[in-house]
C-alpha cells in the first residue's frame, strides 16, 4: 500500500516540475497539495490505525485486565469526544499538566498496570513497523475531536505557567546552529527547501498547523504524534533527544495549542 502511494508522489512531482525549464518551487508545492487532495478523497491511511486504536481502547489488557474505558482525558471517565481539542490541561489526580500522550500513558499504567518505560520505549513506531499502541490510541482519540474547535484551557496557575515556559522554550536559541523553534517558525512565507514553514506565532498559521497534527506521514508510512513532531524538530535543531512526555515537550505543546485556540481540529492530517 505504501509503495504505490510513493510512486504517485514521484509521478506528480516529476510531472509538475521536471519538464519545465523554468520550473519553480511553487509548482512542486502545488504538486504536493494536489497529491494530498487526491489521497484525501480516497481516505487517509490513518483510518486503519484509528480502527486499531478503537479496538485497543476497549480491550481488557495488562496485569489489571482492564480496558481504557474509564480513562479520564479531561472530559470525564471514558469520554473521548472533544477531549483532544481541550488538551493539554491540568489533571488534579496526577498533579500536573498533561498532553494526550502523557495522559494515555498515565491511564495505561494506573488502570491497566502496564509498564511505563516499555510504553515510552515503544511509543514511536520504527521504520516499516505497523503503528505502535500509543500511535493507534492517539489516532482514535484525536479523530473524536475532528471538526471541533480547539479550546485548550488556561484556567489555573499550572496551565498558565506551562504556557509561559512553553513560550520561552519556543524562542530559546541554543546549540551549535543557534536555532530556536522561532528560527524557522517565527516569520511568514518561509521555506526550508520546498517545505513551507508555518509561522506559529500568528493565529491563522498556528491553527492550521496545530489542527492538522497528529498526522499520517506518507514518507514514513506511519501515524506521527505531537510528541514525535517536537522530538524531530529538536533533532533538526541539533538539540539532544527530547524525552517522551517530558515537561518541556508538554509545556511547548501547551504554547502551540493555546496559540491555535479558535481553530478547528482536522487531525489526523496527511503529510508528505
Amino acid at each position: 500500500m505504501k509503495k504505490p502511494m510513493l510512486a504517485a508522489l514521484v509521478l506528480l512531482l516529476g510531472a509538475s516540475a521536471a519538464p519545465l525549464g523554468t520550473a519553480c518551487a511553487e509548482t512542486a508545492a502545488q504538486g504536493i497539495e494536489q497529491y494530498r487532495e487526491m489521497l484525501n478523497e480516497g481516505g487517509n491511511p490513518a483510518d486503519l490505525i484509528v480502527m486499531t486504536g478503537d479496538d485497543l481502547w476497549h480491550e481488557k489488557r495488562g496485569p489489571k485486565h482492564a480496558s481504557l474505558e474509564k480513562c479520564d482525558l479531561g472530559m470525564g471517565p471514558g469520554v473521548i469526544k472533544g477531549a483532544y481539542a481541550h488538551l493539554p490541561r491540568y489533571f488534579k489526580d496526577a498533579g500536573r499538566v498533561m498532553d494526550l500522550e502523557s495522559r494515555l500513558l498515565y491511564c495505561m499504567v494506573n488502570l491497566q498496570g502496564l509498564d511505563a518505560d516499555k510504553i515510552k520505549k515503544n511509543a514511536m513506531s520504527g521504520k516499516g513497523d505497523y503503528s505502535s499502541d500509543m500511535e493507534s490510541l492517539v489516532g482514535y482519540v484525536v479523530t473524536a475531536s475532528k471538526g471541533m474547535k480547539i479550546d485548550v484551557p488556561q484556567s489555573n496557575r499550572q496551565e498558565r505557567d506551562a504556557y509561559a515556559r512553553g513560550r520561552q522554550i519556543f524562542f530559546h536559541r541554543s546549540g551549535p546552529y543557534d536555532f530556536s523553534c522561532a528560527s524557522c517558525h517565527g516569520s511568514n512565507g518561509q521555506r526550508i527547501r520546498l517545505q513551507d514553514l508555518p509561522n506559529l506565532t500568528t493565529p491563522e498559521a498556528a491553527r492550521k498547523a496545530y489542527g492538522s497534527w497528529p498526522a499520517y506521514r506518507v514518507s514514513q508510512g506511519a501515524l506521527r504524534t505531537m510528541q514525535w513532531r517536537l522530538k524531530d524538530c529538536f533533532k533538526q535543531q541539533r538539540m539532544p533527544v527530547l524525552k517522551y512526555g517530558s515537561q518541556a515537550s508538554i509545556d511547548l505543546t501547551v504554547f502551540l495549542a493555546v496559540e491555535a485556540n479558535g481553530g478547528t481540529m482536522q487531525a489526523p492530517g496527511l503529510k508528505r
Binding site: G95, H172, R173, G175, P176, D178, R238, L242
Partner: protein
C-alpha cells in the same frame, strides 16, 4: 530532636510520593529563565555528540532569544557588543587563500548532514546552504529564509574586500546582523577551513553553478 522527628516523616512522604501515582515531584515550578533551563535539562537526554550543554546559551543566543520573544529589538549597545564579538571570532585562512574547489563546495551546499545526534561525527558535515538560499539556476529545491545568492561572484567581483567580507559572513554571520538566524559556520566549528574555502569557491568561481547558469547541479 526536631530533625530526628522530621526525618522519618520526610522519608515517608518521599516514599509515598514515589509509590503513589503523583509524579509531580519531578516538575519544575515557576516561569523564570532559570526554571526553564532546569526544565530543559531534565527534559532532554544526551545522545551521540548532542550533549546537554547544547541547552546552555551564549550572550548572543540569550539576548537574541529575548528580543525575538518580546518583540523588543536589542539596544544599540547590546547589538554592537555582539557584532564586535563576532568580528573578533573570525579566523582568516591560514595560507591567506580564500578559494578552494567549487565542486566540493556544491556538495557541501547540498548536504544537510552533520551535528545531529544521529550523525557520525567522524564523517564530514554539510553546510545545507540550499535549505535557505537560492543559489543556482539548476537547483529548484531551495529555501528562502536567506537571500538569493545567484550570480554571487559574477555581480560582486573578487576583490580582496569582497572575498574577506564574504569569508567573515560565512564564518560568523553575526558580524553585521547581531541576531542573524544563519549558523556560524566557522566560529561554531560547523565546517572545516577547507570546507569553508570550497563554499567560497562555489560563490565566486565563474564556472560554478552559482555564476554560470549552464552548469548542471545534479
Amino acid at each position: 530532636m526536631n530533625t530526628l522527628r522530621i526525618a522519618p516523616l520526610a522519608a515517608a512522604m518521599a516514599l509515598s510520593l514515589l509509590s503513589a501515582n503523583s509524579v509531580a515531584a519531578d516538575l519544575v515550578a515557576g516561569t523564570t529563565h532559570d526554571a526553564v533551563i532546569k526544565e530543559l535539562k531534565a527534559s532532554f537526554s544526551e545522545k551521540g555528540m548532542a550533549k546537554l550543554s547544547r541547552i546552555d546559551q551564549s550572550v548572543m543566543q540569550r539576548e537574541c532569544s529575548q528580543a525575538a520573544m518580546t518583540g523588543k529589538p536589542l539596544s544599540k549597545e547590546q547589538a554592537d557588543k555582539i557584532m564586535a564579538a563576532a568580528r573578533a571570532s573570525v579566523k582568516q585562512p591560514a595560507d591567506g587563500k580564500y578559494l578552494g574547489d567549487w565542486k566540493a563546495g556544491e556538495k557541501i551546499a547540498q548536504s544537510g548532514k552533520g551535528w545531529q545526534y544521529s550523525d557520525n561525527p567522524a564523517k564530514p558535515a554539510g553546510g545545507n546552504c540550499y535549505a535557505c538560499h537560492d543559489m543556482s539556476k539548476g537547483e529548484i529545491s531551495y529555501g528562502n529564509i536567506g537571500p538569493s545568492l545567484r550570480h554571487y561572484g559574477k555581480t560582486r567581483g573578487t576583490s580582496k574586500e569582497v572575498l574577506e567580507y564574504t569569508w567573515n559572513k560565512v564564518y560568523n554571520s553575526h558580524i553585521s546582523n547581531a541576531c542573524s538566524v544563519m549558523p556560524r559556520f566557522g566560529a561554531a566549528g560547523l565546517l572545516t577551513e577547507t570546507q569553508l574555502k570550497d563554499v567560497m569557491a562555489l560563490l565566486f568561481d565563474p564556472h560554478s553553478p552559482v555564476n554560470d547558469d549552464s552548469v548542471k547541479v545534479h
